[in-house]
Subunit: 239 residues, 2 copies
């Protein structure tokens, strides 16, 4: 079997083992078979662009493996990263449903396996399989929820420090590290990218980290960050 970009391709959704843990993929057999017939299993290298904001929707991209950066971009080049999509997420969904342009840009940050489905095929699929249609609604709710969180973080924070603290705590809970005394985080992003996630400048992020380290709130070991004082961090998010 081919393995482009060092990926272990899952050939068929019918035999995919991670299916049950994924919001969209856990469909009844009939629907899954129909999906199997209209999907194109594809692979992308790191740095590939799945779609660009403003493009007319070509279809949906079910992310099977790897991570994808979702961002919006201003005319002057300033970029804001909305989220890093994980396997199981369906990308380009809302644009494909509504028919409006993609509202953001999707770019792989790992080698990725993706199931692509053309918009017309997908819409027909939804009409024929109401369970899938409900899954779509669930996915969209999830996305809307995430967007609301982003709005809250951007709009209601008083300082960049607050936003950074929120981001770090969020990362902790995503990795199941939240409960631990001293959570550890693998920082896969550059200061520049973190800045783009919280809507500030790279220099500010650098300075904020320096400050957190000086105050013994965090400590970095190579590319992992150790949260030494969780409550202090949480305190930053409320003030």
């Amino acid at each position: 079997m081919l393995s482009p970009y060092g990926l272990d391709i899952v050939e068929s959704c019918l035999t995919c083992k991670m299916r049950v843990e994924r919001l969209f993929c856990d469909l009844p057999n009939a629907a899954l078979q129909a999906f199997e017939n209209i999907k194109y299993a594809t692979a992308y290298p790191k740095g590939a662009v799945l779609f660009v904001e403003g493009q007319a929707p070509r279809g949906i991209f079910v992310l099977c493996k790897g991570k994808v950066k979702l961002s919006i971009c201003a005319s002057d080049g300033k970029t804001l990263i909305l989220k890093i999509a994980e396997p199981g997420e369906v990308l380009g969904l809302s644009a494909s449903v509504s028919g409006k342009a993609y509202e953001l840009t999707a770019e792989t940050i790992d080698p990725c396996q993706v199931n692509f489905v053309k918009r017309e095929d997908f819409l027909r699929f939804l009409r024929d399989h109401s369970e899938a249609c409900f899954k779509v609604a669930e996915q969209l709710s999830e996305k809307y929820n995430a967007a609301c969180h982003e709005v809250r973080s951007l709009g209601l924070s008083h300082s960049a420090a607050e936003k950074l603290a929120k981001l770090l705590l969020e990362w902790c809970s995503k990795n199941g590290e939240a409960a631990k005394q001293e959570p550890r985080l693998k920082i896969a992003l550059t200061h520049e990218e973190i800045a783009q996630m919280i809507g500030t400048s790279r220099e500010t992020v650098t300075r904020l980290f320096a400050d957190l380290k000086k105050r013994q709130i965090v400590q970095s070991k190579g590319s992992t960050l150790i949260i030494r004082n969780k409550s202090a961090l949480r305190h930053l998010t409320v003030s």
Copy 2:
């Protein structure tokens, strides 16, 4: 027929004349009849709170008449208005679908007519009527789109002036005034509320309006605002 709060109540969805122009309401007859059986037609005065962020989802609220302010609120009381919902919009939809808490607060700013449907009834309704399920997906896509716009405005703007200009231009296009040479806007919100829409302070909004007037870009006549120099306004949104 009763007319609480001075409203002209539309008793039944089956005979509602505005149905066709509304994204969610334009359903096949069977679905509409089923919806009719589970909905509660209700009316609210101005200032009523339909639901509060953080509450467990009780159900959905189909807005038939009036306007509803959708906002999120920080622990310190700072508020951000996400949008003003218009008739035809379904409120509390994503929370009811996903089962997570309402992500924002909905408060009427006019006397409103609302069709309420309990969550369990609504979910059963969606299972039985796949057309409705697709409408829900469309509504959610719409909401997601709006949220992305909000994120863009909050996260990628360089100044409060830019955000205000964007807001004014958006209002123009909503009222079909965008094409006119000198669009007119009925300003129904206070400076305070406008500030909450663009995430700034009331004083800043006052100063920005004063500046726009001094520069002859806008002009106010009572509660209507006349855009005298649309291109200058548009210029503020790009710089």
